[in-house]
Symmetry: C2
Subunit: 339 residues, 2 copies
């Protein structure tokens, strides 16, 4: 019998027994609710600590209808490309959520399906990473739990995003400052809202600098594995060849650089290249890629903070936070004497 008790997880009943009070008193003491004699409270807390008591999440969840879990979903279609991008966000999300006592339930989103963690009531809120989610799904989910979009936005839904247009503007402006006038825009596919916004920034920068937009300089790949090769091939057919490329993301930029060099073109001498994201590759390719840094760590942290506020705070009117990206000058743009 003694053995069994020793093995059993310690519950508030056990603490109550040892403290000579009732379970409900223990519950109150542990949660700091209501007034009670300080010495009673302290005795209870001490015993709880000694016994290394941890409340059972299920029991608590059943009673309070709160799970202290936040779901985080990413579209399965995003995985191949944006992997490392979202990984940074994921870890900062977890750290921040953890500091508020929340757990992170990770799930891959499959088209229109409602994530099981939501339908089973396992999470208090849900954070969606990326643009590759059906809007209708989001609209459905919003009715179930607080939803937060990261790296994406939708009217009326809370979101943390980055100023794609502004970032692209800086990138292109930088190329212009290097003397480039014929700057191509290279993108996997225009479908992605983030890419659309970057395209807008590209056009605006050209326009503001008196360069008329030439749609022949827009090279689009296709939504598939070898899209960079397709895009580069299209690029090489442009006459005369543009002197620079603004790529919608690093993945595309890195692929382009590697393929251009295969064709005997020098980067940045023959073709300057600027990317977007400042992902893992950026610093490791040669030449190191000039790109737009997206504050992924901040995005994760802010997303977690906002979610906690949504769950516990008072300010629940949808709010969209837009972070400013930053140009990171390396060498693919033609800059010298930089890392």
């Amino acid at each position: 019998m003694g053995r069994i008790i020793a093995v059993m997880r310690v519950t508030i009943h056990e603490i109550a027994r040892r403290a000579g009070v009732s379970p409900s008193t223990v519950s109150r003491a542990l949660n700091g609710k209501g007034r009670m004699r300080p010495e009673t409270r302290e005795r209870i807390l001490r015993i709880a600590r000694e016994l290394n008591y941890r409340p059972n999440a299920h029991a608590r969840g059943l009673a309070t209808k709160k799970t202290h879990c936040v779901g985080v979903g990413i579209s399965e279609r995003h995985m191949p490309v944006k992997r490392s991008f979202y990984n940074v966000i994921l870890s900062s999300l977890e750290s921040t959520l953890a500091s508020y006592g929340y757990h992170l339930v990770f799930s891959v989103l499959h088209n229109e399906e409602i994530p099981r963690c939501i339908s089973e009531g396992r999470v208090d809120g849900f954070i969606i990473l990326g643009t590759d989610v059906q809007r209708s799904l989001v609209r459905t989910l919003v009715k179930r739990v607080p939803i937060l979009l990261v790296d994406n936005h939708l009217p009326g839904v809370d979101a943390i995003a980055v100023d794609n247009t502004g970032g692209a503007y800086f990138a292109v402006e930088h190329l212009i400052s290097h003397g480039h006038r014929r700057i191509a825009f290279m993108v996997e596919t225009m479908g992605d809202p983030n890419f659309e916004e970057r395209f807008l920034g590209y056009r605006k920068a050209l326009e503001d600098h008196g360069i008329s937009f030439d749609e022949r300089l827009v090279v689009e790949g296709r939504r598939e594995r070898g899209f960079v090769r397709i895009a580069v091939r299209k690029f090489l057919e442009i006459k005369p060849l543009p002197t620079a490329i603004f790529a919608a993301n690093d993945y595309t930029a890195a692929g382009a650089i590697s393929l251009l060099r295969e064709e005997g073109l020098r980067v940045p001498e023959d073709v300057a290249v600027v990317g977007f994201d400042d992902g893992e590759v950026a610093a490791y390719i040669s030449p190191p890629l000039t790109t737009v840094f997206v504050p992924r760590g901040d995005m994760g942290r802010l997303a977690a903070l906002r979610m906690v506020e949504l769950l516990e705070g008072k300010e629940k009117r949808p709010r969209s936070i837009v972070l400013a990206p930053e140009l990171v000058r390396r060498r693919s743009c033609g800059c010298r004497y930089v890392t």
Copy 2:
């Protein structure tokens, strides 16, 4: 009143009421336990479907003492470098676990701390990614829930790992087949068991090919940001300069290539380089990196499968699964006419 019921989450009581049976019968029907009249069962299932019933995870967990959640932890110190590596594993883990009805609770491990998801009884088992975990922690956790190590191993604990020694052996043997005799081993720091094993494979390959090991050819960085630069500097001081480098991972290899080129050395003509991991960068740097492919997707899938077996199956004696890595020939080793 009708409204309230409409808003309430549907429970087995509601289904029982509509089906004209008791809640326990509904429970049995839903879980397929015990025998019962087929028509009763079907009626219950139909109603459940119509009402879009989903069992409440907490209630079920409280009653069965199973959470249907698996925790996945990664050391905070691993995050900066192995990010993208573990991301692939993470998504395949989730997909596989999900197909068995399990959820993935992601958490970052902090030194000796017991993950809260374990102490709060939120997970049935726990998967640890990577080598950067205190053994003592693992020993502690093993007493709480089934533990599975991925990309790591410890006597007596279930594990899914890759044959680092074998992979390194192939990599070095390949360099030797290109005619190299003076091959350097470049590593961030020898502390990591995976790196130690790769070092073993390096030595063994040299030995088997009649090349005596020269410890001056081992260049170690340091556990910090600029370690590749330090390592490359050391490398450049070796006289005569080795003609090839086997790097303990892609991260190091990619950094080395970029720095070597800055020094005016050609890769692979002056120095051939082979990495390990086949991470995101490998295909995107130039020259594309010859490296050892680690089947991360398989690792995740197998880990999930094994964990489910640990939780539900009979075969619980610790088992360690070692996967065979594969050499991916690109161009940094000197191979031609390959991708």
